[in-house]
């Protein structure tokens, strides 16, 4: 399961981040294995999404969200 599968308001724990060109960016921004993540809301057209992580809100596209594996 990945972050893009989360529904609005749901939370999960990040299990793994796939090796993509933006893995460093995601990790710098606090997306780390073991971290709790909550889907705050989606943009009106379904993409991008806004998540709550490490005590703040972060925007990313569903494409990026798919590289973040989660466990509920």
């Amino acid at each position: 399961m990945n972050l893009a599968n989360l529904k609005k308001g749901e939370s999960a724990i990040i299990s793994k981040i796939e090796e993509t060109p933006i893995i460093h960016k995601l990790m710098d921004m606090g997306c780390l294995p073991g971290e709790k993540v909550t889907l705050k809301y989606r943009a009106p057209l379904g993409d991008p999404i806004c998540i709550q992580i490490a005590g703040y809100e972060l925007i990313l596209r569903t494409e990026e969200a798919r590289s973040i594996q989660i466990q509920k």
Partner: protein, 710 residues
């Protein structure tokens, strides 16, 4: 009394920090008006420097580095941070680094701080927005944090009032801490670390990791240095996963620190209020409606509020130019000043009100956190066109002026999206097109009102704004197909909570951006205005010598003291100038568009800047030097007939053809110059000039042919 220079005397301070961590607020607070914006040598990243006056009277240079989340760069702006901090030969290398840390988001902000500290730099922490953290229910034990991090910590609230004095005191009394406790030790063999450190004469083990991770991008290295690092990577294979391991390690360390220093309670009303605002601002209907409403207010303001000051500037320069001509004896030098240099300067200064206003609005939208919502709302809409949500800001700015708009593309990380945004931004209807649109529309579109509210001329004007925007989308799609890029587009950005903008920051931004515009664009506009003045004022000797004779034969009894005579004389001179020769040369080319050689002159002179069109037309039809108002120009244009056919020159077909031509053509030297600076390549401005000229020509030809048929 001679002051004793102490070894650890601080002379250069750098401020680094996450975006939205109050970095600019602190910089503005520390330096006040003693700041300036320039460029780092060779690259176009804004360099903000200023002077701090310490309590002991000492003055210290301070550099505001671009906001970044980590020393590992991902955009042009972020790269400069590593370049300066890692290169102790750099003239900007700081003796002391102030790291701004958002107290309401300690975890993510401390990453950068630990990196800066591990680089062996003297660091102090400006713990910012303590008040907002408290509203979020977060309390931080400053004494404990200081102990854990091993750097001095100075708490500040979001307004940075009270805390500033202890911080200044701390800077003047700063003593380097000999702190060998690293928060991260790279997992590289001792041997590899040793060979890297001895080659680069660094004492600090973290540099080995930095050099291995950033072999190709880090500044201050020669090609041999880079090859040396590449060889090490191949032989040791130790760099793989190094950067990920580092970030994980650091966050583990940060988690331990936070556990000791932070206590959390419930959120306050204000934070919940920001969340409620987001329900509106990101709503599927209200979100877009609010965005459109805000755009509408900005356009209104740019056009109506800027009108009066622009008028004063216009009149001021015209008055000054007239005064010079009256006061000093006649001659080419006085003419050059009065007709070349002063109008050239005026042509630059007239845009200052709009640029300042536009940046004030953009500043408010950015500072308040609204811009992130715009990116969020627009990203999916822009993606099919090869653009990103971040392209929206430059495109909006393009309505005032393409120059700051092109500069605003810097925070688009993806190269392809950035290039496309730069390429299409000049198609947005900038303010320089407005005078041309207004005069031509009023010439051929009746001033009638439909259904009691819709003014036909206003509708036509709106139509041309739309035409520009449709051009943006269409051309973007073409570039999207033509440009191949291996770098993948992504969007990962912080959604900051809503904050009240700090007016001091907005004010400083207005001043700094206007200054950048005047100095950067000003140089080119000046140079080209001078060239055009020469072209328009001089011509083959014989024709020019006869000017007086011909004009006095046409107007018997009038002398140089009559206004009518002077207008006729300047019209005659322009008609026989080199510019006119050029205009006649290009006439066969522009004839299919419905233009004659007089319009050709205006096309040539307005190549430097579109708004020159109106003043050239005024001169050609000898409206006269002090009749600057558009009514007279309009009347002259309406009365102008073709000497061969006896028909009117400005038929609807010609006027619409001209309108469409100006909508698409790249008649702006300054924009081309800025595109050159931003892309660091002559290729992109040439492509831009080429495609826009072709587009303008074809569209104009079609318009002329179709409208003529009716």
């Amino acid at each position: 009394m001679q002051e004793v220079t102490i070894e650890h005397n601080v002379s250069t301070i750098a401020i680094v920090g996450n975006p939205n961590s109050g970095k600019s607020t602190l910089f503005n607070r520390l330096t006040g008006l003693r700041q300036k914006t320039g460029n780092y040598p060779g690259i176009t990243v804004d360099k903000k420097t200023g002077i701090i006056k310490l309590h002991n009277g000492k003055k210290v240079r301070v550099i505001d580095l671009p906001g970044t989340y980590s020393v590992y760069p991902r955009s042009k702006d972020e790269k400069i941070v590593l370049d300066i901090l890692a290169d102790d030969n750099s003239e900007f290398f700081p003796d002391l680094v102030i790291v701004t840390v958002d107290a309401s988001n300690l975890k993510r902000n401390l990453l950068l701080l630990t990196q800066v500290k591990d680089m062996g730099l003297n660091a102090i922490c400006a713990l910012n927005m303590v008040d907002i953290a408290e509203k979020k229910g977060i309390k931080i034990d400053v004494v404990e944090l200081e102990k854990e991090l091993g750097v001095p910590v100075y708490p500040l609230n979001s307004e940075i009032g009270k805390g500033i004095n202890p911080l200044l005191e701390g800077i003047s009394k700063y003593q380097p801490v000999n702190n060998s406790a690293y928060s991260f030790i790279p997992a590289i063999s001792e041997e590899t670390i040793g060979s890297i450190l001895s080659r680069f004469k660094k004492r600090n083990g973290y540099f080995a990791a930095l050099y291995l991770n950033q072999t190709e991008t880090i500044g201050g290295l020669s090609e041999e240095d880079r090859q040396f690092l590449r060889d090490i990577k191949v032989s040791s294979n130790s760099h793989r996963g190094l950067q990920n391991a580092e970030v994980l390690d650091r966050y583990r360390y940060i988690d331990r620190v936070i556990e000791k220093v932070e206590t959390r309670h419930g959120e306050s009303r204000r934070i919940r209020f920001s969340a409620k605002l987001d329900l509106v601002f990101t709503h599927r209907i209200f979100g877009y409606a609010t965005f459109l409403g805000i755009l509408f207010i900005i356009f209104q303001a740019i056009f109506s509020w800027a009108e009066a000051p622009m008028d004063w500037i216009d009149r001021g320069f015209a008055f000054f130019s007239g005064w010079i001509k009256l006061t000093f004896p006649e001659g080419h030098f006085v003419d050059m000043i009065a007709e070349g240099i002063i109008p050239g300067l005026g042509g630059i200064a007239i845009f200052i009100p709009q640029i300042a206003l536009l940046f004030a609005f953009i500043g408010v939208l950015e500072e308040s956190g609204y811009m992130a919502r715009v990116v969020f709302l627009m990203d999916k809409l822009m993606k099919p066109f090869g653009l990103s949500g971040k392209s929206v800001v430059p495109l909006i700015s393009g309505v005032a002026c393409a120059i700051p708009a092109v500069m605003a593309t810097r925070n688009i990380e993806n190269w392809k999206e950035r290039i496309i945004t730069i390429m299409v931004t000049p198609l947005m209807t900038c303010s320089a097109r407005l005078p041309i649109y207004i005069i031509l529309i009023s010439l051929v579109v009746p001033n009638t009102t439909l259904f009691g509210v819709l003014n036909l001329q206003g509708l036509a004007l709106l139509g041309f704004y739309l035409l520009g925007f449709i051009g943006v989308l269409a051309v973007s799609i073409i570039f999207k197909m033509l440009i191949h890029s291996t770098s993948k587009s992504f969007l990962v950005m912080e959604m900051p909570i809503f904050k009240m903008p700090r007016w001091r920051n907005i004010f400083m931004m207005m001043i700094n951006k206007s200054k950048t515009f005047v100095y950067e664009a000003g140089k080119i506009i000046m140079a080209v205005s001078l060239i055009l003045w020469v072209l328009a004022s001089f011509g083959p000797k014989n024709d020019m010598m006869q000017a007086d004779e011909v004009v006095s034969a046409q107007l018997p009894g009038k002398t140089i003291d009559d206004k009518e005579y002077r207008s006729a004389l300047s019209a005659y001179k322009l008609e026989h100038s080199y510019a006119a020769i050029l205009g006649k040369t290009i006439e066969p080319v522009i004839k299919p568009l419905g233009f004659d050689w007089k319009i050709g002159i205006a096309l040539i002179t307005s190549f430097a800047a579109r708004e020159v069109f109106v003043s050239t037309i005024a001169t050609i039809y000898s409206v006269g030097e002090d009749a600057g108002n558009s009514l007279t120009i309009k009347e002259k244009m309406a009365a102008e007939v073709n000497p061969d056919t006896g028909e009117k020159i400005y038929t609807p077909a010609v006027a619409f053809s001209l309108l469409v031509f100006y909508a698409f053509s790249m008649q702006c030297m300054s924009t081309l110059a800025v595109v050159y600076r931003e892309t660091k390549s002559i290729k992109w401005p040439l492509i831009q000039l080429g495609y826009m000229s072709v587009l303008a020509y074809v569209a104009s030809f079609l318009t002329y042919t179709i409208v003529s048929a009716f």
